[in-house]
């Protein structure tokens, strides 16, 4: 986590604001835009937001079943 620290990072608040968009984009296999790449990088280094994202994906997949 320390070595992966970047000079500029998204905060959790900003990341959480993009998770619904990221989940839909990934599910639709659209290429990630720059903003979502930053969200993705935040998820690599933030277990809380990564847990949120996994749970959101799980909920969306549950609804699709």
């Amino acid at each position: 986590m320390i070595q992966a620290t970047r000079e500029q990072e998204l905060t959790c608040d900003k990341c959480l604001g993009h998770l619904a968009e990221l989940a839909e984009t990934e599910l639709q296999l659209k290429p990630l835009c720059q903003a979502l790449n930053e969200v993705s990088a935040h998820l690599d280094n933030c277990p809380d937001c990564a847990e949120h994202y996994a749970a959101l994906r799980s909920a969306m997949e549950t609804l699709k079943e």
Binding site: I2, Q3, T11, C12, H18, C46, A55, A59, L63, K64
Partner: protein, 198 residues
């Protein structure tokens, strides 16, 4: 999405949820049903009462923040994200709410982490290298971080969620993230000055 639910666009959701009356009641019922169904997969093991409470709380937040919906995702995905966050916050608070930052940092600080991470089965040279790294890290934590950063980052390493750290610091998520990000940058620079790079 579930084919048994009517297809509504975001504007319809927002309009119907905003205006009291039969349309609002119907939209609320459909939203409740959708959130319950979505949460049942990942959170179902916590029981129906938990799910009902979470959905109720999430709906209050959704109604309060209707104007914050930006339209970058479907309305229902946005709403589900709020419900997921509500569920995770509740579970995290149950798990960590009674543990102080100081207690968490002391019991599972970098020394404890070193004991867990240094592989007793590794060859002696590797064990020595790992022990040296933890010694440097321990020194940096004591010398380059503020007391607040120190206790927060040790709690984070121990697994305490950021929102719980923020609550215990009587701060918010944004400020706590910045506090921890600055701490990580200081530690990273310190490790690099000791020739530890990735």
């Amino acid at each position: 999405m579930n084919s048994s639910l009517p297809v509504r666009d975001a504007e319809t959701w927002r309009r119907e949820l905003s205006n009291p009356g039969p349309s609002q009641d119907q939209a609320l019922n459909e939203l409740r049903r959708l959130l319950l169904a979505g949460l049942s997969g990942g959170f179902g093991r916590h029981g129906n009462a938990f799910l009902e409470d979470i959905v109720q709380e999430a709906i209050v937040k959704i109604l309060k923040h209707l104007n914050d919906f930006s339209g970058k995702s479907r309305f229902t995905t946005w709403a589900m994200s709020i419900a997921v966050r509500t569920a995770l916050s509740e579970l995290r608070h149950k798990r960590w709410g009674q543990i102080s930052l100081e207690q968490c940092a002391e019991e599972t600080g970098v020394d404890a982490a070193a004991r867990d991470v240094v592989d007793p089965g590794a060859d002696p040279a590797q064990q020595t290298a790992e022990q040296n790294l933890f010694a440097v890290l321990h020194h940096l934590i004591q010398t380059v971080l503020t007391p607040k950063q120190r206790v927060a980052i040790l709690s984070e390493v121990a697994g305490m969620p950021m929102e719980e750290i923020a609550a215990k610091l009587e701060s918010n998520l944004n400020a706590t993230y910045k506090l921890l990000h600055d701490a990580r940058k200081r530690l990273k620079a310190g490790l690099e000055s000791h020739s530890y790079t990735r």
